[in-house]
Symmetry: C2
Amino acid sequence: MATINDVATKAGVSTATASRALNGKSTVDPKLAERVLAAAAELGYQPNGPARNLRRQETAVLALIISDVENPFFTSIARGVEDVAQAVGYSVVLCNSDENPEKERRYIDVAIQERVAGVVLSPTGTTTNVDLLTARSTPLVAVDRPLQDAAADMVLVDTRSAAKEATAHLISQGYRQIGCITGPAGVQTADDRLAGYKDALRAAKRRTSAKLTRRAEYRADGAYAAAIDLLSDSDRPDALLVANSTMAIGVLEALSKLDLRLGTDVGVVAFDDAPWAPLVNPPLSVVSQPAYDIGKVAAQLLMARITDSSLPYTTTTLQATLITRGSSVR
Amino acid sequence: MATINDVATKAGVSTATASRALNGKSTVDPKLAERVLAAAAELGYQPNGPARNLRRQETAVLALIISDVENPFFTSIARGVEDVAQAVGYSVVLCNSDENPEKERRYIDVAIQERVAGVVLSPTGTTTNVDLLTARSTPLVAVDRPLQDAAADMVLVDTRSAAKEATAHLISQGYRQIGCITGPAGVQTADDRLAGYKDALRAAKRRTSAKLTRRAEYRADGAYAAAIDLLSDSDRPDALLVANSTMAIGVLEALSKLDLRLGTDVGVVAFDDAPWAPLVNPPLSVVSQPAYDIGKVAAQLLMARITDSSLPYTTTTLQATLITRGSSVR
DNA sequence: GTGAAAGCGCTAACAA
DNA sequence: TTGTTAGCGCTTTCAC
């Protein structure tokens, strides 16, 4: 493994000059610079990242800790973060906390230990402890879910009013008993979507009933069980607001299992416009969240704060849009 | 930022002892060790990763370079890799090459510069240059797609015979004109699936015709265009083998656009058992690849080679399984 | 514009 | 069992 010393020797200059040339500093004789570059190429020189990072006390790496790599919503965020980071020469390391606070904590530790330049985090809970990050003043942006009074920028979606709008849409389509399947209590997006659902019922002077709402992990299987439970009742709901697209899969499976027709027997609107949503029969109505933009904005905020740590903390709230398709029409 | 020196001072020992205690070496007096640990906790000590990596000349990090984060097939692989790595205390950084050889090269550079312990790569092409890795003897495992005579383990899927089996299934179901939509030439999985398709036609003494096959990027939009093109012909195919699940989305959109009924008008079998596959109407028949296991095996091979670099290179070929559902039945 | 030299924080000889 | 010390590869003063 050629080091910068080897390159310097080969080019007949000091390591200092080699370093300057390799980093494109202007204060170096073009002839020398060329010799250094040539030597580096010839030796197949690759800078030693750890050494550089140690010396510089900083890295050009962002950590992106998301709660579920297998959820298209989060991978879209990842794309947004990555595109911004790439453009300014930063790398992104993706860590999957799997909705597991323990794993999340481990990855935060790793991020600190590797001295990453900044962290984008979709917290597993509002109580996620980011003090370690704050203590070392590692820039942090929370996405999708807010963090209780943390020193961090946040990029959120106005998911409560989106849920309200979606529910109001179901009401306007003539569904009478509208239920809701949402995520675990304490997960802000889950609570917000449930709240928005209730907002709409209240606005329409409908009674809300605990019998019509279910909570489950943000996964297909939990949603499947919840849907079976909800829809097996004789007084079953005739429409459902579903809190994300993985859950929607479980709900649609339940419908099919119970021989209930989507749209006709049970209207459905689900959060997240998964690529397959238009393909089911009838096509699935969704609340489309601007996932890519969330990632993009988050990365921009992070880069800005890396450059200038004195910036005030901001919360950006993006809008979601209701896309009505056949599944919410009688 | 407390350093190990601060911890040592606070505990009243030398840095060496502090280091040993922190790393759980047995050769240290339990009393002292305890004092060190207490001091570390009190100071909120977090080891400096770059310094440690520089000194140790190794990192407990694996790089996983995949060609599409938004494809469930690859995220399943990621889960497999991650689970194995976690279990032995390694971190995984996920890099998205986006089927772009340029990005792929950049990430390989990053992996080398950060001196990762090993790389799992789904190469964008067979010609992907991994010489840099080989030169520094960084352990490498290629997944999904083979690498031409590279010093690497490989974990592949017998996708050619799976394609043959899927096509034979379509033939047995009475489809007469079977077409194929596959990925770009030069991408081994794309070529293999096409070859398997032809194998089956040949075995059934059917003529193969270039008019029935199309190539496109492994994306929904490309497959959509290809399907529209293929199915608009008066002599259109009455069944299609589709090379992955993102493409399947495009194909199903095309079917719907052209008002052709899945299964009845056009039988379809697609690669990859996406979570939504059972939900379309009729449910989509698929070739299910053991993605999670690919990742798991790859990580195990990598860990083994990190431990013992003299191991012979192996190629593991896993089987795919045909899951027939309604979309391939008349 | 260039070089000599210090030092980032850590681990691992080597000595005691 | 513990401490002293060198040095991983790099960047960056500082002096010239």
